[in-house]
């Protein structure tokens, strides 16, 4: 049997139950594939041992790109490529370039970060996700355990999930 195909799915009724459940399941030495929730549960990343997101760094770098792009564009266009006398003002002066620079910084930071998020989280409009339990977008918290990665029998894993507070345990196979 290959990994990433056969799962046991524990269904938890609320966020307190799933947080306690994660600690117990990990304490019993099981590897959790993922936990699906209808809303963000605070503390779940620590419980699962997920590292902090690096998206802020991506946003900063995209923002920096926006700032440099905007300044370069304005200075080159109005200062070098086609200098125009406008009310006798300097060809290149920073204050009137600030608004466009600010806007492009924000624009690139926002769009770049969101695009990074979409790609990193594999969000695409044309793909149908693997659904472990459709109730995970309604009111249940769903924990998926890969049967082939844990070296324990189905019955053992099922018992661990039930002991951890799962209200039901189902098997889910993907082809």
């Amino acid at each position: 049997m290959d990994a990433d195909k056969n799962f046991l799915v524990g269904v938890f009724d609320d966020e307190d139950a799933v947080l306690k459940g994660i600690k117990k399941v990990r304490g019993a030495g099981l590897k959790i594939h993922d936990v699906f929730s209808p809303f963000p549960v605070h503390g779940i990343d620590d419980a699962l041992g997920i590292k902090k997101s690096r998206l802020p760094i991506a946003a900063f770098l995209f923002g920096l790109t926006g700032t440099s792009l905007a300044l370069t564009m304005q200075i080159w266009m109005l200062g070098y490529d086609w200098p125009m006398i406008i009310g006798g003002k300097n060809f290149v002066s920073l204050p009137p370039f600030i608004p466009v620079t600010f806007e492009l910084t924000v624009l690139l930071a926002a769009l770049g970060m969101v695009a990074t998020f979409m790609i990193a989280s594999n969000l695409k409009p044309y793909s149908w996700p693997r659904q472990f339990d459709v109730r995970s977008t309604d009111d249940k918290h769903v924990m998926a355990i890969d049967l082939d990665l844990n070296g324990k029998s189905k019955a053992e894993i099922s018992q661990i999930l039930k002991d951890a507070g799962a209200s039901e345990v189902n098997e889910k196979n993907f082809e």
Binding site: D14, E15, D16, L19, D34, V35, F36, S37, P38, F39, P40, V41, H42, G43, I44, D45, L48, I50, S53, L55, A59, M73, Q74, M77, L78, D81, W82, I86, G87, K89, P96, P99, V100, F102, E103, L104, V106, L107, A109, A110, L111, M113, V114, F117, S121, L123, K124, P125, Y126, S127, W128, P129, R130, Q131, V134, R135, S136, T137, D138, D139
Partner: protein
């Protein structure tokens, strides 16, 4: 982590569970549109169609069909533009600034307010586009593209060009912020459609949700994205109306050339934006039976923001008036004397009544917790804010430096028609949104219902 506050009132009433939230909000998307929705839609489409005819006439004949003249070269077009952009300030303010301040009451109202923002900004953008006359050439005028006759670039020293960047960035970032919030809710509707066996709806909402699953890591990244977008949007909201005010403040026209304009415009924008959010939500909560989600408490909090921003606007009016006298500049002094006493005094006093006096009524608790009073006052505030822009623009222009060119201003049916067009556009878009998209952010509200309403709420402990 589930702390029930003994001090604060619950944000969601009626003892709703997480499942109830999915059901109450998704029901609207899944059912057939109601009779009142069809009636409202029909009216909006008629307004839109009439307005579209007027817009086409303006494009065909040129803006000469408007009531503008040589002295008053800017009137309803820019008034309506600033009015709509101002309205568009509430949505992103609610979702961004209130998120940074951890104001959880934003959660039931942010979705509809952001939708309103996006549609209001689209309405605003139609005015400068049409005012350009040949808007298909506008790309060369408004964007930094080399034009056909040489590499002559756009003028980055002009506040009008800053406006192009400010409005388009604001629109794009608000749209992205709004859409990111919608993704998990679209997945909820998709999964409900799977259960109900509606394959077409499941496919459509899956595409809209980008195949959202809601894994722990994705949620963590998602929250990170929301927080940074809020951080980016906060200065953005403040920058947009600041830059709009610079269209006036950087000119040398008496009544416009003032440094108070940026903060005064931003306060006015939030003031009018909240008024429009109230107008729309008071109707939406009744039509879609959302009284447990958008409660009197929400309405009261929004009314308090209206008192604060309305008072800031009032102080700004009085400061302006005082400075025009105190500066000793006779042109500045005359511009304000003319506003208060001249042929457009009726619009000045309408503005003063609607914006300065009427929001002060919200100091009375009975009025700010009354739905009928809030509804009426929210409309009065928006009428007042329209007059504010009209007063600033037309009264400063119609009596310029040379008395021989003094004139009046009368709108034609095409000035009015284009305003009607944006109302048609706005309400058509809002009604479509309200029917096909979840009007309340389900995922966010789900995260607060348990701590708020499942456990009994009691205040006994307070006296000790």
């Amino acid at each position: 982590m589930q702390v029930t506050s003994v001090v604060r009132d619950p944000l969601v009433t009626g003892g709703k569970t997480v499942k109830d939230v999915s059901h109450d909000i998704s029901r609207q998307v899944e059912g057939k549109p109601t009779r009142s929705w069809w009636i409202a839609m029909a009216i909006s489409v008629v307004l839109f169609a009439y307005g579209f005819y007027c817009v086409c006439t303006v494009l065909w004949n040129g803006i000469g069909v408007w009531g503008l003249n040589k002295t008053v070269g800017w009137a309803w077009d820019i008034t309506n533009f600033v009015w709509w952009v101002g309205i568009g300030h509430a949505g992103t303010l609610i979702s961004a600034i209130l998120l940074l301040f951890r104001q959880k009451w934003r959660m039931s109202i942010n979705r509809a307010a952001e939708a309103m923002t996006i549609f209001a900004v689209i309405c605003a953008a139609t005015f400068p586009l049409i005012h350009m006359g040949r808007l298909w050439l506008g790309f060369y005028w408004a964007l930094p593209l080399p034009n056909a006759f040489g590499s002559l670039w756009a003028n980055f020293n002009s506040p009008l060009l800053w406006d192009v960047f400010a409005i388009s960035t604001y629109f794009t970032v608000s749209l992205v912020f709004w859409y990111i919030g919608l993704i998990p809710d679209f997945a909820t509707i998709r999964d409900r459609a799977v259960v109900q066996g509606n394959n077409i709806r499941a496919q459509i909402y899956n595409a809209l949700s980008f195949g959202w699953q809601g894994g722990a890591k994705t949620w963590m990244r998602y929250e990170s994205v929301a927080l940074i977008l809020a951080g980016l949007s906060t200065p953005l909201v403040l920058s947009v109306h600041t830059i709009v005010s610079m269209d006036f403040a950087t000119s040398v026209i008496p009544g416009w050339h003032t440094t108070i304009f940026p903060p005064y415009f931003v306060a006015g924008a939030i003031f009018s934006g909240f008024a429009m959010v109230l107008t729309l939500l008071l109707v939406t909560r009744v039509v879609f039976k959302l009284e447990d989600y958008i409660t009197i408490y929400h309405i009261e909090l929004m009314n308090i923001i209206i008192i604060v921003t309305g008072s800031v606007v009032g102080i700004a009016y009085i400061t302006e008036l005082f400075i025009s006298w105190y500066s000793g500049v006779e042109y500045e002094g005359y511009a304000f004397y003319n506003r208060v006493q001249g042929p457009f005094a009726w619009s000045y006093w309408s503005m003063m009544t609607c914006n300065v006096i009427s929001p002060q009524l919200f100091w009375i608790k009975k009025i700010r917790t009354s739905i009928a009073a809030t509804f009426v006052l929210s409309i009065i505030v928006n009428i007042g804010m329209w007059f504010e822009r009209f007063v600033i623009i037309v009264t400063s222009l119609h009596r310029d430096y040379i008395p021989s060119s003094w004139t009046g201003f009368h709108p034609t049916m095409f000035d009015i028609g284009e305003y009607v067009f944006t109302f048609g556009l706005f309400f058509t878009a809002f009604l479509l949104f309200a029917k096909f998209f979840p009007v309340i952010n389900m995922a966010e509200v789900k995260s607060i219902v348990r701590s708020d309403s499942e456990k009994p709420h009691h205040k006994e402990g307070l006296g000790a």
